[in-house]
């Protein structure tokens, strides 16, 4: 009794949705308080037995959920109750609430199947049917689709247009959730394409547009119907959808392109609707770009868009241009001025599009000018766009190992300039590129050191934390290649300036280490200088003298000088010697190099700089600057500071002493400290070279080496050690490999020349027994041919030089007239095998294989044969194949067997389909050998079906290249090195 009264009271005094909204607007007690009060009411009212009260409560709840994001999943059962109400207005509220709140995981979905069926088949009220259809299109699950497919099928040929068009739109979701529905509904869907009612056609075209965009191949056979609509339809919306369909189909079947190019151009010329015109343009530039006339027309239209005042059209014009850019760069170049003009548009989206286009125009001929323009824009832009500009300059110029950069001196100074731009936040990328270029391009190092010096020396830069990474690269470069520096002492001062205490510890450690390197260089130069001034050539400049001495290593001369001869020995094992002229050697060639680059530094200044006073001053400076850091809490800093200070401690006494003895004890090169200095200098002058990331993989795994041992225990101990992130190369001294390379031939030659003594015979014996641990000397050459050691500079550089020479030659032949201003040839850029792996973006395969399979079955008419396999999904592939075979023999098939073959290949193996985009053309070309090959392939495919996806892809590619050796390829060795 109490409950009935309360429900009556509720009904009488219930707040309607309107009251709720009004209350929300007034907000007397605050929104959240008001809503929570309202929700309490709703919770009470929704339990009411009175259907009006209940539906009203549900309506309010839906409102709050939809616009204020309040959870309503708790009311799912009440939603079902309201849906089953007999009054349309209540039912409507229920259905709306269901489509708003139900998801695949809502449990009560199981309860509504019958309600939906009842409403779908309601013969009297088409609006109830429509409600159910609408709701289904939002919430239908696989189960619902399966159970309701017969009803939907009936509605697809309903005489009521109002219902039929909704049923058609719903089919899209049904196919997606329950592909088997295709067998039932697809034919009727296709029939609707021929309907005379424009609404039906519009709906069905929309559905096909979506279906085609997911899996174009299956709908190729419908091309004639589509074509008819494309030519006949007067409805812009339908035409736009049709163009979208054809844009996809044409990519698969070039002969279609020939047919549609004329109608598309016709639409483009005649239509007054910008949307249709733009769709035509987009279709032409994306799919019909081989048809010169059409592209020209499209570019004219694009230009109209670009020059329009409407920002929307401007944006779309730029958009279309960037689609056309890769194939028809002329179209972009024609509109160059406009594009650059929009770089300063006030809409960031338009600016971004035009930036993209500008970057598309970049080539090696204009990269300098374009970068100049862009940097100027970057200076004027807001921080966000500034960084976008800088980012795209960096990524474009570094593309494909700096392919478009000819003048690295320019590029490096551009990097320096970019670092100084106020908003620059590209520190990481610039750091990477500075080091990368430094490793790869030998010729640019002097300039790089100069740029680095300019950055290091500026104390203002130390306050910008975005630049720290760049500064660390600069510090490293200056330390590593200090021999190119004009004034090393200046570098020491810069590296130790007081403001470096602003740097984070890791970078400061790099600074200190670099200072160490520079110091060693200074001391070493100082020693050499002293020795040479004391030598028999007192009148010439010491350093250049030394350098020249090394160029002509006359035995008698070098014997008298211990230091130069020592470094000569070094050079024999020095990787640089084997492939570089002597001029480019480390110590003492600084002068030569800088002169050749037209700089002001002369040997005289460098001679003067290494005075005794300077050395002592800087030793003191270092002690002074680093002294306080011996108490640093950072291990990296502490370690390096200690190293450096201990080193100074070690040598300082003797260096000071040596001055006193200067005159008498000239030949005291045996002095302890100078030995140490030489040792250190040798250690630091060791060149770091890039190593291919795949180098490790090329090393054969020795037998008996257990690599897959469980190392979980280790992880417990050093779990917090992070693996280095993927850098394209690792900095490894190539000394080791050099040593091996040098000693091996040495050993061989000895073996050949000397008569086998006892020792060698013992060695041979040992070798025989433990041959495993020796490098095989005989096979060495062969192996080297197959897999050049990753870091063999000789091989690498020779190859590079050859190709470079060729490139240079052709360049000179072709371009010499066009670009007389290019003074110097492009320097050698070291490349590694592992570097250039053209990673084409993997396109995800069509996500619903079963859907496309089903569609093809229906379209190609093999229902009877496949009916047995309906319930067995594992049979699907075989049934598909049957369908295909029929397709080939079917004479009535529109697009004859050319296409069939290609399709067939693609369909044999589901995984091979992924490679379709890449291999399509090839397969087409190899088609002619005919069916025998296909049979074989089929066999091969069957055998290999179970191999991994990656493997299968590899196979497909091989198959396209070498059609006949598929059968012999049976041993399945997954090639992980690919």
């Amino acid at each position: 009794m109490a409950s009935t009264t309360s429900s009556i009271m509720d009904t009488l005094f219930q707040r309607t949705l309107e009251d709720l909204i009004k209350g929300l607007r007034l907000q007397i007690i605050g929104e959240s308080a008001f809503i929570s009060k309202a929700l309490d009411e709703i919770r009470r009212e929704i339990k009411s037995t009175d259907s009006h009260t209940k539906s009203n409560a549900l309506q309010k709840l839906s409102y709050l959920s939809s616009l204020h994001h309040f959870d309503m999943s708790w009311a799912a059962f009440h939603v079902v109750e309201v849906m089953s109400s007999s009054r349309f207005s209540h039912k409507k509220i229920g259905y709306h609430a269901a489509s708003l709140s139900f998801s695949d995981s809502t449990p009560v979905l199981l309860l509504i199947t019958n309600q939906l069926r009842k409403d779908l088949t309601n013969p009297n009220n088409e609006f109830e049917v429509s409600l159910a259809l609408e709701c289904l299109s939002r919430i239908a699950t696989t189960d619902l689709c399966r159970d309701l497919t017969p009803e939907i099928f009936t509605l697809l040929s309903s005489t009521k247009i109002f219902v039929r068009k909704k049923a058609i739109a719903l089919v899209l979701r049904v196919f997606e959730k329950y592909p088997d529905a295709v067998k039932v509904c697809f034919k009727r869907l296709v029939e609707n394409l021929d309907s005379t009612d424009p609404h039906i056609v519009s709906a069905v075209v929309g559905v096909f547009c979506e279906l085609t965009s997911n899996d174009p191949k299956s709908y190729l056979p419908l091309a004639p119907e589509f074509y008819r609509i494309l030519v006949d339809s007067k409805n812009n919306w339908v035409l736009i959808k049709m163009l979208k369909i054809f844009a996809k189909l044409v990519l698969l079947e070039p002969r279609l392109a020939k047919r549609i190019v004329e109608p598309v151009c016709e639409h483009m010329r005649r239509t007054g609707a910008k949307s249709l015109m733009f769709e035509c343009v987009r279709t032409v530039v994306s799919s019909l770009s081989d048809y010169e006339e059409a592209v020209k027309l499209a570019v004219v239209k694009i230009r109209e868009l670009l020059l329009d005042d409407d920002p929307n059209l401007k944006y779309l014009g730029l958009n279309a241009l960037s689609i056309v850019a890769p194939k028809h760069l002329w179209a972009v170049l024609e509109n160059k001025e406009v594009v650059i003009k929009w770089l300063s548009d006030e809409d960031p989206n338009i600016k971004r599009e035009s930036l993209r286009l500008v970057m598309a125009m970049v080539s090696e001929n204009n990269v300098v000018e374009i970068c100049r323009v862009l940097v100027n824009y970057a200076l004027k832009s807001d921080p966000e766009f500034c960084n976008e500009i800088l980012g795209s300059i960096l990524s474009t110029c570094s593309r494909n190992l700096y392919e478009i950069v000819n003048d690295f001196d320019w590029y490096v100074s551009l990097l320096g300039e970019m670092s100084r731009i106020l908003h620059c936040q590209q520190g990481d990328e610039i750091e990477n590129q500075l080091i990368d270029i430094c490793m790869r391009v030998r010729d640019v190092r002097p300039e790089l050191v100069r740029v680095g010096r300019d950055l290091l020396i500026d104390p203002a830069l130390l306050s910008n934390h975005f630049l720290y990474r760049i500064l660390s690269a600069a510090a490293w470069v200056s330390g590593e290649y200090v021999e190119f520096s004009r004034n090393p002492f200046e570098l020491i001062e810069a590296l130790l300036q007081p403001r470096t205490n602003l740097l984070p510890p890791s970078i400061r450690a790099i600074y200190i280490q670099s200072a160490f390197k520079v110091l060693i260089f200074c001391l070493h130069s100082y020693l050499l200088q002293r020795e040479s001034t004391a030598s028999s050539y007192p009148d010439t400049s010491a350093l250049s003298e030394l350098a020249s001495k090394r160029e002509m290593p006359e035995g008698s001369d070098s014997a008298t000088f211990k230091a130069p001869s020592h470094s000569e020995q070094d050079e024999v094992f020095n990787p640089r010697v084997s492939n570089q002229s002597f001029e480019e050697l480390s110590v003492g060639n600084g002068g030569d190099r800088t002169i050749s680059h037209g700089q002001t530094s002369t040997p005289v200044t460098s001679e003067n700089s290494f005075t005794y006073e300077a050395v002592v001053n800087h030793l003191n400076l270092i002690e002074l600057a680093l002294g306080p850091l011996t108490g640093s809490h950072d291990v990296e800093i502490l370690e390096r500071v200690r190293n450096l200070l201990c080193f100074i401690e070690l040598i300082k006494g003797e260096v000071l002493e040596s001055l006193v003895q200067k005159e008498e004890n000239l030949n005291s090169a045996e002095m302890k400290s100078s030995k140490i200095i030489k040792l250190m200098s040798d250690a630091f002058s060791e060149e770091l070279g890039p190593v291919s990331v795949s180098a490790q993989e090329r090393v054969p795994i020795p037998e008996g080496l257990v690599l897959k041992e469980n190392l979980n225990d280790l992880e417990m101990i050093c779990g917090d050690i992070q693996l280095p992130s993927s850098i394209s190369f690792s900095l490894v001294s190539n000394h080791y490999e050099e040593g091996v390379g040098a000693s091996l031939p040495d050993l061989q030659s000895k073996e050949e020349l000397e008569p086998p003594s006892e020792a060698t015979s013992l060695l041979a014996e040992h070798r025989k027994r433990h041959g495993l641990y020796y490098l095989s000397s005989e096979k060495n050459d062969i192996v080297a041919n197959d897999y050049p050691p990753a870091n063999d500079p000789k091989l690498r550089d020779n190859q590079n030089n050859d190709t470079e020479d060729l490139v240079k030659l052709t360049e000179q032949l072709l371009v010499s007239k066009k670009r007389p201003n290019q003074a110097k040839p492009r320097p050698v850029v070291v490349k590694l095998d592992g570097d250039v792996v053209p990673v084409s973006a993997k396109r995800p395969g069509p996500k619903d294989d079963s859907l496309s399979g089903a569609v093809q079955e229906v379209l190609l008419g093999s229902d009877t044969r496949t009916s047995t396999s309906r319930s067995n999904p594992s049979d699907k592939s075989s049934s598909k194949r049957k369908g295909k075979e029929k397709l080939i023999t079917d004479p009535s098939f529109e697009l004859n067997d050319n296409l069939g073959d290609a399709e067939k290949l693609d369909h044999e193996n589901p995984s091979s389909r992924r490679s379709k985009h890449r291999t399509h053309g090839k397969e087409r070309r190899h088609k002619s050998p005919g069916k025998i090959r296909e049979e074989r392939e089929e066999n091969g495919q069957k055998e290999k079906k179970k191999s991994s996806h990656r493997h299968a892809r590899h196979k497909t590619r091989q198959r396209a290249d070498v059609p006949l050796n598929v059968v012999s390829e049976t041993p399945v060795i997954p090639d992980f090195l690919l």
Binding site: L67, L172, R282, N312, E346
Partner: protein, 143 residues
């Protein structure tokens, strides 16, 4: 699915209508609306009506104090969607007579009903104003 969602948002950033054609959780909806509103409402009249957001596009248009935002797939025709928005506004105008934000607030179910006639499962199925309004008028007559 061409159209993913349709939002109507006022100048203050309050959502007045939200219709999604794919299922998103409440949290996802809240986040999405927040991001989009922040992105689009900051733009001025001289800027274009297309904004790239995550992996799809937003085409929007402002009428008086109300922003109409439509999220579409990347290959959807932007201009056609603009026309669609205009059609929607014209339809509502015809029904309510000089439609304003309050009309949509207090007659949300009608606005939804119109949208349901126009768009189904992300596809536009009806573009004739008369056809769109027919069921609503019929409903009003009977009730």
């Amino acid at each position: 699915m061409g159209i993913r969602f349709i939002l109507m948002v006022n100048k203050q950033g309050q959502t007045r209508l939200a219709q999604y054609y794919e299922y998103l959780t409440l949290e996802e909806r809240r986040a999405l609306e927040g991001e989009i509103v922040r992105k689009c409402l900051a733009r001025n009249e001289q800027q274009c009506s297309f904004v790239e957001h995550r992996n799809y596009k937003i085409v929007y248009r402002r009428y008086a104090s109300l922003f109409f935002l439509v999220g579409v797939d990347n290959d959807e025709n932007e201009l056609a969607i603009l026309e669609f928005i205009h059609l929607l506004v014209e339809t509502m105008d015809r029904h309510f007579g000089n439609v304003c934000e309050l009309d949509i607030m207090f007659h949300l179910e009608k606005a939804h009903f119109m949208l349901e006639e126009m768009v189904m499962n992300g596809c536009i199925v009806e573009t004739s104003k008369t056809n769109i309004l027919q069921p609503i008028q019929l409903m009003e007559k009977t009730s």
